[in-house]
């Protein structure tokens, strides 16, 4: 409701009103059917804001790009226990401290879906306590190619078992 910076609502909330007192909108609303991936929608909107940020103030300039990184980490399956909390932390900084409305609402896609589909985010997390933001083994691919190796010793486990 209200475009990328608006509110994400579910079918169960279809009784809600389009009004300043309830769901405020500048006139735009988008309807998604169940063939759409919620993560894909959130990611599109989050990428959009990272691209649109003018860069004037610190929270929005860095925050929109960090939010994008952090969301990608979770969506791509590299997230672990603390990563949703981290996502909320970045979103909170954006909302509270950004200079203008763009930054203040840039985290709405994340925040309003997190509120409605917390289990979706949790399911996406790995069952370990910490996962680095990059893929260690994938980072070695170029080195393996150059060395012409692909044996077990040329691969690294991300986390010690």
């Amino acid at each position: 409701m209200g475009g990328p910076s608006g509110t994400f609502i579910t079918v169960e909330e279809s009784h809600r009103l389009l009004a300043y007192e309830d769901l405020a909108t500048g006139g735009s609303f988008i309807v998604f059917n169940n063939s759409r991936s919620i993560f894909q929608i959130v990611k599109n909107f989050t990428d959009f804001f990272a691209h649109e940020s003018c860069g004037f103030c610190t929270p929005c300039r860095v925050g929109t790009s960090l939010l994008q990184k952090q969301l990608d980490k979770i969506v791509l399956g590299h997230g672990s226990a603390g990563d949703v909390v981290e996502l909320e932390r970045i979103a909170g900084l954006l909302r509270q401290y950004s200079h203008c409305g763009l930054g203040q609402t840039a985290a709405n896609p994340v925040l309003t879906t997190l509120e409605r589909y917390p289990e979706l985010y949790q399911q996406q997390l790995k069952k370990i306590s910490y996962e680095p933001g990059f893929d260690l083994d994938a980072a070695l691919q170029v080195a393996r190619q150059m060395a012409g190796r692909n044996d077990a010793a040329a691969h690294l486990q991300q986390v010690e078992e």
Partner: protein, 235 residues
């Protein structure tokens, strides 16, 4: 004289003053980086965020008003200022132990003041250039936090317009206004305010690096909260 309160302390102010100016005059430190007395306020770093009657505002740009209740030192604000400082660290490349500015750097000193022990957020590791073209001044873009002070200093104090800000979002960057984009082709000299105003180690004067040894530097023995009030009072 009209009054407002900062963390419960009654503070008088002159009409036209900002919350930051009223606080400084009363000996209250509010963390800041893009603000400097005597310069047009910018309000971009957001470190001076305070709560005014429950709303977040930038103290350096927000006008003081009678009866305002300002919260500055709450645990929440201090934690969020620490996070904002961490954002500044991860977006650039700051390796303090090998930086000439260490001990005199306001970014580093603010980080200490806010008890920042790590960068917390993932690093961006941007690829940024070093402009060593000028005989007397070095510009290391890796340490620029876009506070805009050099831009303002060059325009307002030196009447030269040597620096500018360009780009959007995370691609925002400092530019040098010359055909080549290099400092050597500008009118910038070591006597300019713009050459000395940088709060970080982005603009450095050559051959001065270790004149003041580490251990005897500005922030080595005094926190920025004290240094800042002493300096800013004088202006």
């Amino acid at each position: 004289m009209a009054n407002l309160t900062i963390d419960g302390q009654v503070v008088g102010f002159e009409p036209g003053q900002t919350i930051m100016e009223a606080a400084t005059a009363a000996g209250i430190y509010i963390p800041h980086l893009c603000h400097k007395p005597g310069y047009t306020p910018h309000g971009s770093c957001k470190l001076c965020s305070v709560k005014v009657n429950g709303r977040v505002c930038s103290a350096c740009t927000f006008p003081a008003a009678d009866g305002q209740q300002v919260i500055s030192q709450s645990a929440e604000l201090q934690q969020d200022r620490r996070h904002i400082t961490q954002l500044l660290f991860v977006e650039g490349n700051h390796f303090c132990p090998s930086c000439e500015k260490t001990g005199q750097c306001q970014l580093q000193a603010v980080a200490y003041e806010l008890k920042m022990h790590d960068n917390h957020f993932p690093q961006f590791y941007p690829q940024r250039a070093l402009d060593a073209s000028h005989p007397d001044i070095v510009l290391d873009h890796n340490r620029c936090i876009f506070c805009n002070l050099c831009v303002r200093a060059s325009r307002e104090k030196d009447g030269k317009n040597v620096f500018g800000i360009s780009g959007r979002g995370i691609h925002k960057h400092l530019i040098v206004n010359s055909e080549s984009g290099l400092l050597k082709d500008t009118q910038l000299t070591v006597d300019d305010a713009a050459a000395h105003v940088c709060p970080t180690g982005a603009i450095l004067i050559r051959n001065t690096a270790y004149h003041v040894p580490i251990g005897q530097r500005l922030f080595d023995h005094q926190p920025i909260s004290e240094v800042s009030l002493e300096h800013d009072h004088g202006q």
